[in-house]
């Protein structure tokens, strides 16, 4: 900007262009990791719903009674805790999905998904940084 400070810009991303690009496993109404498209596909009321890794903040697994729970937190405005909220948004006046929580009897699988989401996020951040360094 005018003061010479780096302004974070929002960069557009897209999971799919056509509905035949979903991984075949979305049939099972289960969470599906699509590494190729940097996307997590979540079953919501019988429909596979893609969420690009760039919308995801983190994911964590917990146990309660007979069930394991996976909570996926998404990036949304007003979450800057203790520091400046400099996350860029295309439209900060929109509604945002802030979190989704799923339950399953298969805790190991939910832990594995949480790990995979963490790794996918790390890779995405690394790629962004590499791209930025190339541009500089």
């Amino acid at each position: 900007n005018e003061n010479g400070a780096a302004v974070k810009k929002f960069k557009r991303f897209e999971s799919y262009k056509r509905d035949n690009q979903f991984p075949p496993r979305v049939r099972d109404l289960a969470i599906v990791m699509d590494q190729k498209n940097s996307t997590v596909v979540l079953p919501i009321m019988g429909r596979p719903v893609p969420f690009h890794i760039q919308t995801i903040k983190n994911a964590s697994k917990s146990d309660e009674g007979d069930f394991a729970f996976l909570r996926i937190n998404f990036l949304s405005p007003g979450q800057g805790v203790g520091r400046k909220d400099d996350q860029p948004f295309e439209d900060a006046s929109a509604h945002f999905v802030r979190s989704l929580t799923f339950r399953s009897h298969d805790g190991d699988r939910l832990q594995d998904i949480a790990n995979q989401i963490g790794n996918m996020k790390k890779d995405a951040v690394k790629r962004e940084q590499e791209k930025k360094e190339m541009e500089d």
Binding site: Y16, A30, M45, P48, E90, A92, T101
Partner: protein, 213 residues
């Protein structure tokens, strides 16, 4: 008795009714449609007079026909979902709905961008989350058990679920179909809660107070 022929009936196999665990055969006729689980059991039927609309979209098993209900079928929760059609079925089904139920089978394309921002809009029987004017997903009101204001600008929506995973919470006679209040229990991973960030309310109030000052 005259036997039904091809002109009075359209039949489709491997169709899932309301996220049912097993598939069945779906038959359409002038007076309505029926779904019979392939493993045997009771047949679900819906009278043509209860069909208020129909949408065609990509779903989990294949393509879905979502029938919007009208009239005295409130116990079904406003919609009936039929998943598992193939792309080529669209034309045949379009004729079924147009000729027999005087309804357009509306092609509803869903948002595939993978964005988590958009606009929540309240329809007749569902809450739709629209991304660039296309629904990313819909939540039938019948599946919501509770909502609350979880924080500043944050709304939590909780879903109805059977108390334990082994309880299908369904009418086994309908091939494990998940009617009103049971849909989130289908599948391996069951949606428990969804939180939305809804901006504006507080900001607007603050802005107005700012103007007054």
């Amino acid at each position: 008795m005259a036997r039904p022929n091809d002109l009075t009936r359209e039949s489709f196999d491997n169709i899932f009714l309301d996220l049912s665990s097993s598939s069945g055969r779906c038959r359409f006729a002038e007076n309505g449609f029926g779904w019979k689980p392939s493993g045997g059991g009771d047949t679900f039927t819906l009278d043509a007079s209860n069909i208020g609309g129909a949408q065609w979209s990509r779903a989990a098993k294949g393509y879905e026909v979502k029938v919007v209900l009208r009239g005295q079928v409130a116990s079904l929760g406003g919609i009936v979902m039929l998943d598992g059609f193939v792309l080529e079925d669209f034309e045949r089904l379009g004729k079924v709905f147009k000729n027999w139920y005087s309804t357009n089978l509306e092609h509803k394309e869903h948002a595939l961008r993978g964005w988590n921002w958009g606009k929540g809009e309240f329809g007749k029987s569902e809450l739709a989350f629209n991304v660039q004017n296309r629904p990313a997903f819909e939540i039938p009101y019948s599946e919501i058990s509770n909502t609350n204001l979880a924080g500043k600008n944050e709304v939590a929506v909780e879903f109805s679920l059977p108390p334990n995973g082994d309880d299908t919470g369904t009418n086994g006679a309908l091939g494990g179909a998940r009617g009103k209040g049971k849909k989130a229990g289908a599948g391996k991973d069951q949606l428990v809660e969804m939180r939305f960030y809804i901006p504006g309310v507080t900001t607007k109030k603050e802005a107005m107070e700012g103007e007054d000052a």
